[in-house]
Amino acid sequence: MEEPDWHAPATVEEAIALKARLGDGATVVAGGTFTGILVANGLIRPQAFIHLARVPGLDRIEIGDELRVGAMVTHRRVERSNEIRESPWACIAECFAQVASPRIRNQATVGGVLCDADYASDPPTLLVALGARVRLKSPSGEREVLVADFIKDHYETALQMDELLVELVVPKPPRLVTYLKFRSRSSEDRPCVGVAVAADLDGDGRCRTLRVVVGAVSGRPQEFPDACALAVGQRMSVDVATEIGRRYAERSSTLSDVRGSAAYRSRLIAVLVRRSLEPLAA
């Protein structure tokens, strides 16, 4: 068998050209935490790897009106970035800090976790709730896609064959943002359920806007705006929180895996959505 080719392009343009040319025989490697498992288990056998470590600019973190994080920025850098931690985007740092263990976070990248589209991940859930976008570049130009639209299903994204995810763009979050990671097993486990809440309250504590996203329970993060609408225009109460939780539990599709059955996850969603919303009542 032929050894796969190892490409280490020096510019974004070169990387994109390579990807367009090599097509589906090539696999892009960022941190390698996911591709490493796939290759080791024989799940993929790429003819070529395109490693992005030498591409300049993909490791940038920029804060302006929006937060911009390069595709090659590691989880650990997001977690430890003082710039992010002291900004309105601090919730992003907190969320990335909850992924796996430091050893994984030192390696796993922002672009990687989005392109893998593994359902059992933390950041996508929060990013959907914040209306985050990904910037995709191809030989013919570039486009931005909402993370909510980018992740389509298990390991399936809107990324075209000739496109490269170069950047994550996160609008300024509303005042109250939480990400609740529920682990059913060890503290290093992937989420059994993730619940992200992004809410804006007026001066009287009434909900101006509310987004609740449930992740890690099916192929992609799920959101039910009409259930959230129950809270808009009023103060959050335990009753409303419970009712939104109930509706999320009823409507979310859930799967079974080693972290819990579909039925258990549905039960948890009601509890965890309620628990995530209760602080808004305070």
Partner: protein, 709 residues
């Protein structure tokens, strides 16, 4: 200061062993749980890659196994579990070997499988082994049953008639993975008809014996060199990679090394899944009257040490209690799961779980404090256990009280649980050791105790130094090589510190005797010190140790015993491992997540000979127990492991380990092994605490979902 080679990376584990020109082995494994092997075609494999199929082992004994000969080197007519070896290759690089596997064509005809040990005993279950020769000491009574350990004491089941309250409950314990950091690794080569194995094994002498039988050569034609292991926890007990690696090396006429992948570890050997049905009868005052234990141990496709597991787990499930009427019926059953074998906490983990949850259920039923109920029934010095043996040096109550105090049991029982256990040691057992003075003035300790990370050399050097009156610096542990070390049963069942302490004492006595003969004085007049050897009252006779090079003392320690397989009467253990644990938990009633707020173990240590080692062993055992309690269970679907990696199969991380405490209770005449004392009691104590928090769990692991019920 010399740095630990584990820290510098200088240590050469089994997987680091290397001989120039060696080939790398890979094993072709069955994707089916049960199938007929119609054909194995290696024609497509490049000629420079060595292949091994059933046609290459026809001159060997067809089957091997430490207790029942039931396992082929590579599959013959049938494969019996997912992962069963069908063929193997040896190539210049691991990658070439891996690629060659894909060029071997195997045709299978799938057969129905059975994956539950109770179902496997029913008449409709497929029969896994036909025409096996089961050794006389085992009782293959029942379909797919390779051994059945039965015990009866007092009136047996008739004793329940005399009990005022009788309860009956069922319990299940999942299979678990050992997960040593270093996987199984073996290097084999042949030299002038003699087989050399450099292998990570806890059982060099069993391996030599069983390999000799398999290859039909005298034991003297086999040399086993034990490589230090990066963990084992029972996984590297008895033959694993040795047969297939040696067969490949024989065909290749070159050294061959095999190292398993993590995924292969999950289909090579695991902890026995087990099911229990227990009846317990007591009087209203709490006095135990009768107990019956029905157990089914799923030993997978091959028995391995399953017959011993079902025996030891059978009597462990009686518990350390004075019960006048006991019956045990413990079955070791073949299924189409991967083989199960020795696992730290050897059978006691499963037995103690069932037994100690049962004790608490009885306490609930009687309205008696679980501590009081246990203390009322615990065995005491001079009592007879259900096996008929008289108990000595009994510390169960001491351990239990210590554990209860640690969680302030008297201040309230909410969310708290206790557990106490008795665990047997490998009996009968034999250990030889030699102490030999070398030309450099050191005493070389020749011992077969294997190093799987517990660093036995520290305890053994201390023991030898103490016995000889020398400083431990003068004691050097020699290489662990069957050509050089005296026979030792094996490094299992936390027996080595106990057995070696006695054998070393005997060897030291013998060495003094031999030196005294040289000096032509009485041994009691001999003065041994770091400065050399002298004779009391004659300072001018002093000589440095180096001048006695070659003088050697030998010591052997043997424990008799064994149980009758039909009545369970006899000597189960030459001495008992005694331990207790206490736990306090918080259970999130809405999610089922258990948080351990307090955890304590109290283990009877006897005389501690290596303080740091003893503490580390007990800490490791406790953490191991937490994994078994809360997270660890192999998930099988139709015989296929569905969580065979360290992401889907979770072991505790540092953040999951609470600030636990423990007590090593000292006393008595002996040194006890501490390698696994906390393992069985920790899950049971946590389980009883979870039950006290309102969640009456029956099964292990206590996953968050299962706690909700």
């Amino acid at each position: 200061m010399t740095l630990d080679p584990r820290i510098t990376g200088a240590i050469e584990y089994g997987q680091d062993q290397h001989i120039d020109g060696m080939l790398h082995a890979r094993i072709l494994r069955s994707p089916h749980a049960h199938a007929i092997v119609l054909s194995v075609n290696t024609a497509g494999v490049p000629s420079d890659v060595v292949t091994l199929t059933r046609d290459d082992v026809v001159d060997l004994e067809p089957l091997y196994g430490p207790m029942v000969k039931d396992q082929p080197v590579v599959a013959g007519d049938r494969v019996l579990h997912v992962g069963d070896a069908v063929a193997a290759v040896a190539a210049r690089t691991p990658r070439e070997a891996e690629e060659a596997l894909e060029l071997i064509e195997v045709e299978y005809e799938e057969l129905p499988g059975v994956f539950d040990p109770v179902e496997a005993t029913s008449d409709s279950a497929p029969l896994l082994h036909e025409g096996l020769e089961i050794p006389a000491e085992y009782r293959p009574d029942g379909r797919n049953v390779c051994h059945r350990f039965r015990l009866k004491s007092g009136l047996g089941n008739d004793g329940f008639a005399g009990a005022e309250v009788v309860i009956e409950e069922s319990f299940a314990i999942a299979g678990a993975a050992h997960n040593p950091m270093e996987p199984h690794a073996t290097l084999a080569y042949w030299e002038e008809g003699r087989l050399h194995l450099i292998t990570g094994t806890q059982t060099p002498f069993n391996t030599r014996r069983d390999m000799a039988a398999l290859f039909r050569i005298p034991e003297e034609m086999i040399r086993v060199v034990v490589a230090p292991m990066g963990g084992s926890f029972g996984a590297k007990t008895f033959m694993r990679l040795e047969p297939i690696t040696a067969a490949l090396a024989r065909k290749a006429q070159r050294p061959v090394r095999a190292v398993l992948t993590r995924a292969e570890e999950f289909i090579t050997v695991n902890r026995h899944p087990a099911q229990f049905r227990i009846r317990l009868g007591a009087n209203r005052d709490g006095t135990f009257v009768a107990k019956s234990v029905d157990a089914w141990w799923d030993t997978g496709a091959y028995a391995d040490c399953g017959p011993s597991v079902c025996t030891k787990g059978g009597y462990a499930a009686i518990g350390p209690y004075r019960i006048p009427n006991v019956t045990v019926d413990s079955r070791c059953v073949y299924t189409n799961l991967p083989p199960a074998g020795a696992f730290r906490g050897y059978a006691a983990t499963q037995g103690v779980w069932a037994s100690e949850r049962m004790t608490d259920l009885m306490a609930d039923r009687l309205g008696i404090d679980p501590l009081e109920l246990r203390l009322k029934n615990l065995l005491q010095d001079g009592d007879r256990f259900a096996t008929g043996e008289v108990m000595h040096d009994v510390r169960f109550a001491e351990c239990l009280r210590n554990a209860a105090d640690a969680v302030e049991w008297g201040e309230g029982r909410k969310n708290k649980g206790l557990a106490v256990m008795l665990k047997g040691m490998q009996t009968p057992s034999r250990t030889g050791v030699a102490l030999e003075i070398d030309a450099g003035g050191h005493v070389v300790l020749r011992s077969a105790t294997t190093d799987m990370g517990q660093r036995p050399e520290i305890a053994q050097r201390n023991l030898a130094a103490h016995a000889l009156g020398l400083s431990p610096d003068l004691i050097v542990v020699g290489p662990n090589d069957t050509d050089l070390v005296p026979f030792d049963t094996r490094t299992t069942s936390s027996r080595s510190t106990f057995m070696m302490s006695n054998a070393i004492r005997a060897a030291a006595h013998d060495l003094r005797q031999k030196i005294a003969e040289r000096f032509e004085v009485a041994p009691e007049d001999l003065v041994l010190s770091d400065e050399g050897v002298g004779v009391a009252g004659s300072p001018d006779l002093s000589r440095p140790l180096a001048e006695l090079a070659g003088v050697r003392g030998d010591g052997t320690f043997v424990t008799p015993g064994g149980l009758d397989p039909d009545t369970g009467q006899g000597i189960a253990s030459s001495h008992w491992h005694q331990a207790a644990a206490s736990a306090e938990v918080n259970v999130d009633a809405e999610t089922g997540v258990t948080t351990i707020t307090r955890l304590h173990t109290a283990v009877y240590a006897g005389n501690v000979v290596d303080r740091a080692g003893a503490e580390l062993q007990n800490e490791g055992s406790t953490i191991f127990g937490i994994g078994s309690a809360l997270y660890e269970g192999i998930v099988f679907e139709a015989g296929q492991v569905t969580n065979g990696n360290l992401s889907d199969y979770e072991i505790p991380s540092t953040l999951d380990v609470p600030d636990f405490t423990y007590e090593l209770l000292e006393g008595g005449e002996h040194s006890h092994g501490l390698g696994e004392m906390a393992v069985p009691v920790v899950p049971a104590a946590i389980g009883n605490a979870v039950a006290a928090a309102g969640h009456p769990v029956r099964n292990l692991p206590m996953s968050a979902e299962s706690v909700l019920g």
